[in-house]
């Protein structure tokens, strides 16, 4: 595998940064090289936030994503600001409820009912984790078990349910 670059974007407080760190930690535990970072403003909540992670079998030279293979967005503002960075070979996953996608986009785009599933699970705050499950399921960069092992203790059951639901959706989107 060459490098896989994944970008998560949303509003501060949606848990975007948590996703990149969790995915990086899970892949690192599987013996892969991982580098994750975020860019954000001085305000903690409400503004545009972008987090990213590179997963690779070889040492990672430049630690930031130059061309995203996968973009996962949780808000319209995030979608509007980042979707043009994704090339034709890339994939965009967006929340079905909060994002209206543009039409003239070369990349393949798929909606994920992240907020809807989170609400079904009784915790709208974990829409981010559903989306992460979908990214992992789509790319196959890590198996579901590896992702579950990396979850923090707090809220483990809820997060595990969200990951599992999202993972199944992601797997369904894989190219045949």
């Amino acid at each position: 595998m060459s490098e896989l670059g994944i970008v998560f974007a949303g509003q501060g407080g949606q848990g975007v940064r948590f996703l990149s760190t969790l995915l990086g930690r899970a892949c690192a535990a599987r013996g892969k090289q991982a580098a994750s970072s975020a860019s954000y403003g001085p305000e903690v909540r409400g503004t545009f936030t972008r987090a990213e992670v590179i997963i690779s079998d070889a040492p990672i030279v430049y630690p930031r994503v130059l061309v995203p293979d996968v973009l996962a967005v949780l808000s319209q503002e995030a979608y509007d600001r980042v979707h043009r960075d994704v090339p034709a070979a890339g994939v965009i996953l967006y929340d079905a409820e909060t994002v209206v996608p543009a039409e003239d986009v070369p990349a393949r785009q798929f909606p994920v009912p992240a907020f809807q599933i989170a609400k079904e699970l009784g915790a709208p705050g974990i829409a981010n984790v559903v989306l992460l499950g979908a990214v992992a399921g789509l790319t196959g960069v890590i198996d579901l078990a590896g992702l579950l092992e990396a979850l923090p203790e707090r809220g483990r059951d809820l997060n595990a349910a969200a990951l599992t639901r999202g993972y199944a959706i992601g797997e369904g989107l894989r190219m045949p």
């Binding site: 990149s20 760190t21 990086g24 930690r25 690192a28 535990a29 013996g31 892969k32 090289q33 991982a34 580098a35 994750s36 970072s37 975020a38 860019s39 954000y40 403003g41 001085p42 990672i60 030279v61 430049y62 630690p63 930031r64 130059l66």
Partner: protein, 474 residues
């Protein structure tokens, strides 16, 4: 009827006639100058008429150098805490030792700031004083979590001035100590960093650089403090600065910073930047780390050596040595010599020479594809990762390009830069400031130098560097 009290003066501590406070205060005229000089060339006071002593204790309480002991009749003489006395701590000779790394050996996924804190702890750091500031705060948070359980001390100070002052005090208490901040905090610390240089106090200062000047952009990277670290404190004497480019090196160079600090009794900067500090990466913790332990050895000269470039031993307070620590010009024993030209000259030259003459122990760099390179990139910190990406891309297109990555920035590795750059077609220096590193490289390289600067608070996109290599466009 005079009583047989005893009065003793430790001659090596006495300032003699220049002080003579004991003679002034004594109601019984016990004291007068001795008729022989000490090995330091001072005429000490002597208790010439002890039989007159009334044991009023004014002299021993007033003596600024604690040189006088008055032992009243029948009282047991207190044990004299003489220089060169027993060593209350293990390993007074110090030097290199191997100690187990604190974390179990293996692979971890952690941020640069966490790795920096873990490296410091593995090096033996047991005191942290700081004031939080983005993008360095996670170092402080991690230290607050870890230090108490390790028997160390963590304290949040009222500001950065207090932070570095507390670190210097802890170091003189015999503990490896550090603080972490960003550019605005360094600006506040500079006065006491100069004090640490003058008093030869080992300490580690982590500067996670962010976009400035002033408060600038708190969460954005920069490399604008390279010159500030070197020249910020007045007096212009050398110190040491290291520049990590990865989370792994945040760990390793934190250890190295402590080792160099203890080895040379000098403040050491870890010049990180926001990119490596907030980056999460896979890192490997080794089973053991090599550390340099302080040479404690209480003896007469904690501030001078027979050699012009020596590092004196550093006893701690409470270990039996009499210690005077001052930022004013001082002799080998720590006494102020603020009008003595020879002492000032010798001290300043040794403070610099103890580092300059040992640059082979300090210089640290990595060379990438330099053998046949016609053009050479020189970079440090996270910018070097952009540079290496561009070098690899250019190599794939057949361009003979190489990279010299500097891991130690101060003292500037002149000979290393000259050895790798002399005679090349072009030396290219990308950096996140207005050309601070390029200026040093230009001085040392012996080849034409191009400075590529970026100060927009964003990481340098490696494709920008590649475009310059291909088309000369920046």
């Amino acid at each position: 009827m005079p009583k047989p009290h005893r009065v003793t003066i430790v001659e090596s501590l006495c300032k003699g006639q220049a002080c003579a406070l004991c003679a002034q205060v004594c109601p019984a005229s016990v004291f007068r100058p001795a008729d022989h000089p000490t090995p330091q060339g001072i005429m000490p006071m002597q208790a010439a008429y002890p039989e007159k002593c009334t044991a009023c204790h004014q002299c021993d309480q007033l003596c600024p150098d604690l040189a006088i002991d008055v032992i009243a009749e029948g009282a047991e003489p207190a044990p004299l805490p003489a220089r060169g006395g027993p060593f209350p701590r293990p390993n007074p000779m110090g030097g290199w030792v191997e100690r187990p790394a604190l974390l179990p050996a293996g692979s971890y996924f952690m941020s640069g700031n966490e790795a920096c804190a873990e490296g410091a702890l593995a090096a033996g750091c047991r005191f942290y004083a700081g004031y939080p500031i983005t993008p360095s705060s996670e170092i402080m948070v991690h230290m607050a979590h870890r230090l108490p359980a390790l028997g160390g001390t963590f304290t949040q100070m009222e500001d950065e001035l207090g932070s570095i002052a507390a670190v210097i005090g802890a170091s003189w208490g015999g503990v490896k100590a550090m603080t972490a901040t960003s550019g605005p905090g360094i600006s506040l610390m500079l006065e006491n960093i100069g004090y640490a240089i003058m008093t030869e106090t080992p300490c580690v200062i982590v500067d996670v650089q962010r976009a400035g000047p002033s408060t600038g952009q708190a969460s954005r990277p920069a490399q604008g403090d390279i010159m500030q670290a070197r020249w910020g404190a007045h007096g212009g004497v050398d110190l040491i600065a290291l520049a990590p480019w990865s989370v792994q090196e945040m760990y390793e160079l934190a250890i190295r910073a402590f080792n160099l600090s203890e080895r040379f009794r000098v403040p050491v900067f870890l010049l990180a930047d926001e990119i490596v500090s907030h980056l999460y990466e896979t890192i490997t913790i080794p089973p053991a780390v090599r550390t340099f332990e302080r040479v404690r050895l209480p003896q007469d000269m904690p501030f001078d050596t027979p050699e012009i470039d020596g590092v004196p031993p550093m006893p701690a307070f409470g270990e039996g040595a009499y210690l005077l620590v001052t930022g004013s010009t001082h002799d080998g024993r720590g006494y102020r010599r603020t009008t003595d030209a020879a002492v000032q000259d010798k001290l300043v030259r040794r403070l610099s020479a103890k580092i300059r003459h040992h640059q082979d122990e300090i210089d640290d760099w990595e060379a990438y594809m330099l053998e046949d390179a016609e053009r050479v990139l020189v970079a440090c910190g996270s910018t070097a990762r952009s540079a290496l990406w561009a070098v690899q891309a250019a190599r794939r297109q057949g361009q003979p390009i190489g990279l010299l990555r500097l891991r130690s920035l101060w003292p500037f590795p002149d000979t290393v830069v000259a050895a790798h750059c002399r005679g090349r077609g072009e030396i290219i220096v990308p950096e996140m400031n207005l050309g601070q590193l390029a200026g040093e490289v230009r001085r040392a390289a012996g080849a034409p130098v191009t400075s590529l600067t970026q100060v927009d608070g964003e990481p340098i996109d490696p494709r920008r560097i590649l475009a310059y290599l291909q088309e000369g466009r920046w």
